[in-house]
Amino acid sequence: MNGRQPLAAVHIGVAVAAFGVASAMGVLQALSIADINFPYRSESLYYLSVTAHGVLMALVFTTFFIMGLGYALAQEGLGRIIGRGLAWIAFALGLVGSVAAAVTIVRGQSSVLYTFYPPMKAHPLFYIGATLLVVASWIWGGVVIASYCSWRREHAGVPAPLSIHGMLATIILWYLATAGLAVEVLAMLIPWSLGLVGKIDPELARSFFWWFGHPLVYFWLMPAYVLWYTVLPRVAGGKLFSDSLARMVFILFVVLSVPVGFHHQFADPGISANWKLVHTVTTYAVLYPSFVTAFTIIASLEVAGRMKGARGLFNWIGKLPWRDPFFASVALAMIAFTFGGFGGAINAAYAMNSMVHNTAWIQGHFHVTLGTTVALTFMGATYWLLPRLLGRELRLPGLARIQPYLWFIGIVLFSTSYHIAGLRGLPRRVYSASLTGEYGAAWHGLTRLAAVGAVVLFLSALSFVTVVVATWFGGKRIQSLAFEFASPLRPVTALCVWDRYGLWTVLAVLLVAVAYGYPLLHLLAHRRYGSPPFQPF
């Protein structure tokens, strides 16, 4: 279909705006940690800005981008969006919720970070605003599923386009994940923040948070994989190496990525060591689909290089379109993920986690994974999407071309430094790496290097936002470009076991019930006292 898509476009627009604001906060945080003074630097502003950065990046930027991508793919892959009116209502809900939460943060009433662990209490509107954003995403999921069902009635016996398969898997996973969040926020946090109940159990709330918190990263990663599988080989000029394995990968994420949350709680009391070990096993299992993805994508790129005439063992790499901003973004995102994945394997390593838990290593880790693998893919995808959604030519292509490389340089400096500082013991989320003013000899140089990396990252983010704004308002009007997806080497024509969404959903629910049922009941069986609210900010 060739036409503008305002619904998808406004979602991407909100995502980019959130990203821009959060990036500016990020660079100031890195300067603050490194003890580099700047006007208005203060403790309370630092923790306020860590909260805003986390909420805007991890919740607003990602959720709006993924919703926009989902609508664009439904329109292109299925030729329809069923419930467009509802989708606009959801957009308004999500926007109002995000702004309400952001206002309480900016007013200093909700400096509780994006993990909002009780008994630290934010303004009730913080929780209610976040809930509205999640409700918007639930409606979005319903709209995409309704569009798929309508398409399915007309296309019996044909597998869904791979991009839709990936989005459906993402949506199923999102419903499973947000069930845990809904229990925490609706049954515990909101009544407690309004003063309707006096006490809250912090450990129970944490467990429900991480039920949601780890699949949240796959909610970000799976749409990125959709782009890797269905767009990247095409942009590279090749074909998708294996369509059926891609389908398997998305289903494995649905089944395996929720019952893993205890690997964020290895250092917690209240959960037995054996159940932590069970979640360790599932955590390693969920690495598997990413290993398979690595092969399929790189093989697809090799196909692209060979189709362009490459002969030798490695010279297909040089034949790839490294000057294309989408290609460069994704390729660099994938290189980052190699390191991020192995760092993740260390975090998940049960007892070894004690060496890195809650140190600067962790912020080093998730800026490689979320901050590069996902964010850089989304930035590159924005360059690819905008001309198609707006019917405008990309402005400032030169800036778009260097932007991904700038990001990669920044992240290497930033994340490498924090990984090492974390191994030397620097606690995460500190206003100043000298702590009380007397410490930090072991990591001060590293935090300075990370600050240099953060400045480079900020320049890259600024370039990205500039290109988006210039394109949106000043791009030459063109006939919207077609969405072209990669065709597989071996087209799949018949439904297979990986297309049975109901079956896999049931299996995923059962696994979650096993992985969480017993430990949570065990926790509930103890005499629990609960905590009143605190606001030490």
Binding site: S244, L245, K276, P427
Partner: protein
């Protein structure tokens, strides 16, 4: 489902690598009983001041020469501070919080646990040789979170 030969080899190799990782973890669990701090015990955070143990957080020796350290974390300090323990003896930390969630990290060691109000974190470590360590709070706990530090002094074994 058709899977190319090289892809099949890769998939088996990836599975093997993950089994190797998990095998290493299970070996340390089985042979050395290594595990993260996972104690399950609750305590009323609103009456810590009158709690027989956490009302007076302190280092208490046991008959066998090992010691128990009861620690209360609260915004923005650890108590007791400094903590003095003997070298080469089993030191069992029991940690809870009087207000929000805190962290307890003995910098440069693997002594690392959460301090969660209403719960007691417990783990046992042995420090080899005398020395001084920084204790840092590693969970955001409020405006002066970065100032929340303590000192651990490991002293030569008393005869």
């Amino acid at each position: 489902m058709h899977v190319e030969l090289y892809e099949r080899i890769w998939m088996w190799a990836a599975a093997g690598l993950l089994l190797l990782f998990l095998g290493a973890i299970f070996l340390t669990v089985g042979l050395q009983a290594i595990q993260p701090p996972s104690h399950i015990e609750t305590v009323d955070p609103t009456t810590l001041a009158t709690n027989p143990e956490f009302g007076t957080p302190a280092v208490r020796p046991r008959a066998d020469g090992s010691v128990v350290v009861s620690v209360v974390a609260q915004t923005f300090s650890f108590s007791p501070d400094p903590i003095e323990v003997p070298a080469n003896r089993a030191v069992t930390f029991r940690i809870t919080s009087a207000d929000v969630i805190h962290g307890f990290e003995v910098v440069g060691t693997n002594a690392n646990a959460m301090a969660i109000p209403g719960y007691v974190s417990q783990f046992t470590v042995t420090f080899k040789g005398p020395g001084e360590y920084l204790i840092g709070c590693h969970e955001y706990c409020g405006t002066m979170h970065h100032n929340m530090v303590g000192k651990l002094i490991v002293k030569k074994e008393s005869p």
